[in-house]
Structures are given as structure tokens and as C-alpha cells.
């Protein structure tokens, strides 16, 4: 027992040393460096336009000339075009803007005023989520933007036969997925984060109720217009039948036929 203690201490410190070394080797740029940059080292030199690819399963954050903080958690490719314009090509991005920022995608763009937002690509669509401020999302070919209240999400898809980007009405954010994502990127303590989520959920509830009301209203209008159309068709059919009967009667009378 007497000799085991120094032996244990020796092994412990030896292994601790190794672990610290391995951890240090991945720390080269904030939490994780981007795996590739074009032009080389453009992020460090703040040389824009700058395109880069971030590593998968690693948190990457970058301060854009004091105007915004961008964070990614998965493999994300994006281009910083100017200090206030970013183009997302793939992956997911959290934006915490201190001034107005423009996020471009292939199917439209979003204007993010001072506030937080998520923009992410999933298959053929780009999703825009407003977190704590209203954001405006402009789809390709749209004359008016979608105005998203905090807690709402809207997606844009490729331009379709209407010559506009495919899209749907804004819906409430998936709260559980949002909480998981935010838990990975925030620097708050447990208690602070719980308060943050509670606060968000309160707003989210109000937004959800508003969204439901809008959807309900739209649905009712759609049902009413469908009913109106069906009545109109019935009336037309009845008129047509009456006219047919009248003509048939006339035909029989003129040709002295019995019917």
C-alpha cells in the first residue's frame, strides 16, 4: 500500500500530461479552425471575399469586424462577401448581428437587423429562423418579403413554374431542436441558459398562437372560396340542363315529333 501511492501518482500525472497535449493540438483557431480557406488565411487577414469550409462536429465561431458573430456546428461552407454580406452555400449558421447583415442563399436572402437568427440548408431548401428580432426574408422573384417574428421559420426552395422561389407560410420553430442547437453554441451558465430558453418559449408561444390564427384564417378563406366555387358550378350545371331541355322541346315541336 505504501509503495502503491507513489506508483499511482506517477501513472496519473504521466497520463494527464498526455491528455493535455492531445487536447492542445486541436486548438489552433478559436474552438476549431476552418479546414479550408480560399484565399489562404483570408479569415486571419480579414481579407474579403473569403470562402471557407468548417469542420464537421466541431464548433467554429468568427467575429465579423465587430459587426456580427457567426457560429457553425457542422460542416458548413460559406463566403464572406463583404463585412455585411455573407453567402451560405451549405450547412448551418447561427448569426448574432450587431448591425444589419445580409445573408444570401441561392434561393433568396435575409436581412437580419441587430439580433440573432439561424440560417441552414437542408436538401433542396434553405431555412431562415428568427430568434430574438424580426427578420425579413426575400425569396427569388418575390415582390414582398416574408416578415418573420421571433420564433418563426420559413423555407425557400428552387424557382418553380411560377418563376418564384418555392416557399411555404412561416411556421413556429421546432422548439426541442432549437433548444438542442442553442445549447451547443451558447456560452451561458446552466441557469442563465434555462432562463434564456424560458424567455424564448414565452415569445414562441405568442408567435405560435399568432401563426395558428393566420393559418386558421387562411384555411377558412380557402374553404369558403371552395364552397363558393362549388355553388357556382352547381348553378351553371342547372342552367345548362334547363337550356338543354328547352332546346330539346323546341326541336321536337318544330319537327312534329312525339316525346
Amino acid at each position: 500500500m505504501k509503495y502503491l501511492r507513489p506508483l499511482f501518482a506517477f501513472v496519473f500525472f504521466f497520463s494527464l500530461e498526455v491528455r493535455v497535449k492531445a487536447h492542445e493540438s486541436s486548438l489552433t483557431f478559436g474552438e476549431a479552425a476552418p479546414v479550408s480557406q480560399i484565399p489562404e488565411d483570408c479569415l486571419l487577414n480579414q481579407e474579403y471575399p473569403c470562402s471557407f469550409l468548417t469542420a464537421d462536429h466541431a464548433r467554429f465561431s468568427y467575429f465579423l469586424s465587430g459587426k456580427a458573430k457567426i457560429v457553425s456546428l457542422e460542416e458548413t461552407s460559406l463566403s464572406i462577401i463583404t463585412e455585411d454580406q455573407i453567402k451560405l452555400m451549405s450547412g448551418a449558421l447561427f448569426i448574432d448581428a450587431h448591425r444589419e447583415l445580409l445573408i444570401k442563399t441561392n434561393y433568396g436572402f435575409a436581412k437580419i437587423p441587430k439580433g440573432q437568427a439561424w440560417v441552414y440548408a437542408d436538401r433542396d431548401r434553405f431555412y431562415f429562423e428568427a430568434v430574438n428580432r424580426r427578420i425579413k426574408v426575400y425569396g427569388r422573384g418575390f415582390e414582398r418579403p416574408f416578415i418573420l417574428d421571433p420564433g418563426q421559420v420559413v423555407w425557400l426552395g428552387p424557382v418553380d413554374q411560377t418563376f418564384q422561389a418555392d416557399s411555404a407560410l412561416p411556421t413556429p420553430i421546432d422548439l426541442s431542436d432549437f433548444t438542442k442547437r442553442m445549447a451547443k453554441i451558447n456560452d451561458l451558465s446552466k441557469e442563465e441558459f434555462a432562463l434564456y430558453i424560458q424567455d424564448f418559449a414565452r415569445n414562441w408561444k405568442i408567435t405560435s398562437q399568432k401563426t395558428v390564427a393566420i393559418h386558421k384564417n387562411l384555411l377558412q378563406r380557402q374553404i369558403a372560396s371552395d364552397q363558393d366555387l362549388s355553388k357556382k358550378r352547381k348553378r351553371q350545371r342547372a342552367l345548362q340542363m334547363r337550356e338543354d331541355r328547352r332546346l330539346r322541346k323546341l326541336f321536337y315541336q318544330r319537327n312534329f315529333l312525339d316525346h
Binding site: 507513489p6 470562402s51 461552407s77 463566403s79 422573384g141 424557382v159 413554374q161
Partner: protein, 229 residues
């Protein structure tokens, strides 16, 4: 006290030896070189991946821009969208290119050239064309004919050895083809020229036995009767 000192001493020696062993092992195993290579390839791969993302994104953006701006000319043409055609795609609006005209294959061209020269009696030049077909387009449909005409060209130029070579090749590669039968007729003729009548007669009999072409049989029979008399 002495035992504790002894244990510490042994531990230090063991740790030192382990460290020394790992350093030596790493140095001679080429691990660092391989690691550097892997890192280099990985960074190259990431760079290519990013380039690919940029290109795909630019291309997609261009496509979307075209799709968005196609609207005005189409609306001028038709003010209201057609009923029953809700799924009009970009493909239906794109320009149709005329169908691609497939020209003759290089082997056909060489054969045509060779046959023309052969018919003018320019066997030397014709031979070059047929040789190109045999060498460069061995899998083409003209291969058998090229072999036969090449053997025939050599026969006309009285280069009998080369002619025999090509007839042999035909027997190996296309034993049942009618043209091989005609090639064998040339082989028999060479034997006749060299006054080896018996061997020529054997070849004629083989042709009569193995080939079904009437023209070939008729010719072989007449030559055989001539050799036998």
C-alpha cells in the same frame, strides 16, 4: 527508505526506456512522414471540396437567375398560365439543338481508302491502309476484310511470306469465315507456285470439306482437278 528509493528509481528507468523506445520507434517507422502525407492529402481534399461547393453554388445561382428571368418573354407570349400544364419545367423552355450527325468511323474511312487504292492496283499504299485497320481498329467490323485484303495485297506484290502470315492469322482468329476460305485459296496458290502440288491439293480438299459457300467450293473443286491432273 531504501526500498522506496529503489521503486522510484526503477519507475524512472522504466519510464525513460519507454519514452526512448517510443521516440526510436517513431523515428524509424516512418510514421511522421506518413502523417505529414495524410495531412497534406486531407488539406488538398478539403480545398477541392470547398472549390466544388463554390462552383456548385455559383452554377445553381446562375440557374435560379435564369429561371427567375425567363418569366417576362413567356408572359408576353401567353398572358394566363395554361390549364392542365401546371408542371412546366425549364427543360420545355430550353432551345432544342439539332440531332448530332454521326459521321463514318475512322476504320470505315481507312477501308474505303484502301479499297479504292486496291482497285487502282496501288497495292503498296492499299496495304498501309489495311495495316492501320488491323493495328488500330482490331475490334471493328472491318477487321476480317482488312486481314483478307492485306493478305491479297501481299499476294499481288508477290510477298508470299507475309501473305502466308496473314492467312494463318485469319485461320486462327476467324476459322469459319468465308473470307478465310478465300485466304486459304491464296495459300494453296502459293504452294502451287512453289510446285508443292500435294500440299495445295490438301488445302483445296480442306476448303471443300469445311466451308459452305458454293462459289468457294466451285473454285476449290476446279483448282483441285487442275492440280490432280
Amino acid at each position: 527508505m531504501s526500498t522506496q528509493f529503489y521503486v522510484t528509481y526503477i519507475l524512472c528507468i522504466t519510464a525513460g526506456m519507454t519514452y526512448f523506445y517510443s521516440v526510436i520507434k517513431d523515428h524509424y517507422s516512418g510514421k511522421h512522414t506518413l502523417q505529414a502525407q495524410v495531412e497534406f492529402l486531407q488539406s488538398k481534399y478539403d480545398k477541392e471540396k470547398l472549390k466544388n461547393y463554390i462552383l456548385s453554388s455559383d452554377f445553381e445561382e446562375y440557374r435560379q437567375m435564369v429561371a427567375e428571368n425567363i418569366e417576362s418573354p413567356l408572359l408576353k407570349q401567353k398572358k394566363s398560365p395554361e390549364k392542365g400544364y401546371p408542371l412546366r419545367t425549364l427543360a420545355s423552355l430550353s432551345v432544342r439543338f439539332p440531332p448530332m450527325v454521326v459521321g463514318p468511323s475512322p476504320a470505315s474511312e481507312l477501308m474505303r481508302e484502301g479499297k479504292e487504292l486496291f482497285s487502282y492496283g496501288d497495292y503498296e499504299q492499299a496495304k498501309n491502309s489495311f495495316e492501320k485497320v488491323v493495328k488500330l481498329h482490331d475490334g471493328s467490323v472491318h477487321s476480317i476484310e482488312a486481314h483478307f485484303l492485306l493478305a491479297e495485297s501481299f499476294f499481288q506484290m508477290e510477298d508470299y511470306e507475309a501473305c502466308i502470315d496473314f492467312v494463318n492469322k485469319m485461320v486462327i482468329h476467324f476459322p469459319e469465315h468465308e473470307l478465310t476460305g478465300f485466304g486459304l485459296m491464296r495459300l494453296a496458290a502459293i504452294f502451287e507456285i512453289r510446285e508443292r502440288g500435294e500440299e495445295a491439293a490438301k488445302i483445296y480438299r480442306t476448303i471443300l470439306k469445311n466451308y459452305e459457300s458454293n462459289d468457294l467450293k466451285l473454285e476449290a473443286r476446279s483448282y483441285l482437278s487442275r492440280v490432280e491432273t
